[in-house]
Amino acid sequence: MNDTFFVSIATFIYFFSFFLMLLCVIFKKRFLERAALSFAAIGFTIHTVSIVLRWILSYQMGVGHAPLANFYESLVFFSWSIMFVYLIARNRYPNVFIGIISVFFAFIILSYTSLSGGVDSAIKPLIPALKSNWLISHVISSFLAYACFAIAFGSSVLYLIKIKVQPAIVPDAATLDEVTYRMISVGFVMLTLGIITGAAWADSAWGRYWGWDPKETWSFITWLIYGAFLHVHLARGWRGVKLSLISITGFVAVLFTYIGVNYLLAGLHSYL
């Protein structure tokens, strides 16, 4: 059986979970939230199975490698990371809105991979530059960081909606502010780790740990933006709208680092 089949099933389940969460917000029924969470967990399990299966299939094809090596695989792993971070974070913040944000992103990303047609899902052998033990640690830390930033982006947007429109169903602004901050402080550490493992990898593949390649530079830019966020938060006590705007800017930089660089700028990181 094909791994993409499992990805499609996970996509549907995430959508259903998202739908239940919306109902839960509208009708304020606890059992709906529990059901939505169960579906999210089932979807996540199937999503995990698809990744493991792809890993196994690549070995059966004789080109074995962790499925973290091209655009398709990175998108599947990105949405997986968002769900992973969400399922951990919800122990601390059992707030249905974090679920809505996460499941929504996971669903959108997976739908894009299957529907856009521009994302090749075939299992390919690894080119020499990608054959490195650093691949796994670098990709995992980078995408966990991106996942944290995606959730922070969602809560910042909700925060602005809450402040400007004041819908009654959106949770209180202080909770959203707190979620944004927590996600970014963890995401910042993961991003630092991602940059460090990337530097170590570049040192073995290209003989230098830092070379101001566009992808490297954009990860640095992203790092600076979130670094600014943490400093105005902790040391200057900024809260609220201004902080949300920095978080949103940071996520734009994340997207540019992840995707924009590859299409718009020339560099060594031409694979994703």
Binding site: V63, K124, P125, I127, P128, A129, K131, S132, S185, V186, V189, T192, L193, I196, A199, A200, W201, D203, S204, A205, W206, G207, R208, Y209, W210, W212, P214, T217, W218, F220, I221, L224, I225, G227, A228, H231, V232, A235, R236, V261, L265, A266
Partner: protein, 447 residues
Amino acid sequence: MTGKLVKFFSSVKLTVFLFLVLAATSILGTLVRQDLPLETQRSLYSPTVFSVLNFFNAFDMYHSWWFTALLVLLALNIIVCTRRQFARIGKLVFGSREHFDDAVFRTSPIRRKYPVRGDIETIRRESDDIVRELISAPATKTSADSFFMYAEKGRYSRLGMPFVHISVLLILFGGVIGTLFGFIGQMNIIEGEQSREVTLYGDRETKNLEFDVRCDKFTVDFYETGMPREYRSDLSIVDRGGETLASNAVRVNHPFVYEGLKFCQASYGIAGALNYLVGVRNEETGEKLNLRIDAVTEMSLPDGEAVLVLAKFLPDYKGQGPTVLAALVGPGEKRDMFRIFRDGSRFNRVRKSGLTFSLKDFDVLYYTGIQVSRDPGVVFVWTGFILIILGFVLHLFFSHKRVWVKLSGSPENYELWVAASADKNRKALEEKLDGLIAGKLAVEQTT
């Protein structure tokens, strides 16, 4: 004056400002190509734009004086901040582990006071249990009708942030050392040959190594799909006497390090070919003949006066495959260049002489592009990387918690004072403390 300067450099405003300026200028550096020679850049822009960009070193921005100056400002900023931070936390981290100070019951973020009655020994034991469970075994001062307890945990977690900040300094320092005392460049070595000359990146100057590097063999390996699987250069280090000092294979992601010099597989190319087998056919007589030619040389044709000259090998001529540029030189004939294509290709030309030539076989002669670098700053960078992670772990996963308990008053109306503080997640500590007091302090509480 120094006061003002210190204040300027200790401000987080400056940090945020520098972060944002570094980010903005770095964006610029990804819009303007940094990897092209100046002449190419000149052709990309109008003369005015070019001179403005060049004035601001925009074509090699990350090594420009002003970008360096921003990083230096950041370093000063970190130094001053960390000093100040140490002044604040030094006593907390390295001070005495017995902290009996009455003031905490008025100033701590978490404060409680309970009137209690009963036997002092029981109250002490119960308080001791609470503190143990909340934090750790307390240090206790006792007298006849009072006691004072103090306990703390995780004081070193306060070093997390200074570690992170100092690590950034170390990384910047390593970068400076690398730029000042290291070098990076490339050498192209043809299979079987050796060289000591490295062409440095950037200024294109050359640098001679202390020894020769010989490429014993270069191989490139493909998957069935045609994608490259592996590039491999077998290198030897050869001293001036011709003696081989070391040999190793270099593959992508598997550099070879010799005496602080790092050799990486960077590129490869076709330098030429060897062992040509050239087929010659006389179109009139139908006579066929194969010529073995070792390298690009002259070769007399056996049946006549003419000499075949192989002048240059081209790995691919306009998508028609490999060719050899050749000339046939006969007595009194003027040189006429032509191309010899692969066997079976219809481009093989019949010459005036009535002969057709074809390239039947040859061995490709590769050159390997080896990147050579030396970076004495890299130890500082790695140390900084490890420390920054350590700092983050201390900062994220540990917190400095402290608790004080004091019993005062007379047996008729004792007062039990409790104070606590935590540098992170204070609410959790507060809830746990209240829970423990409610559950364990069995002494009758008067309201």
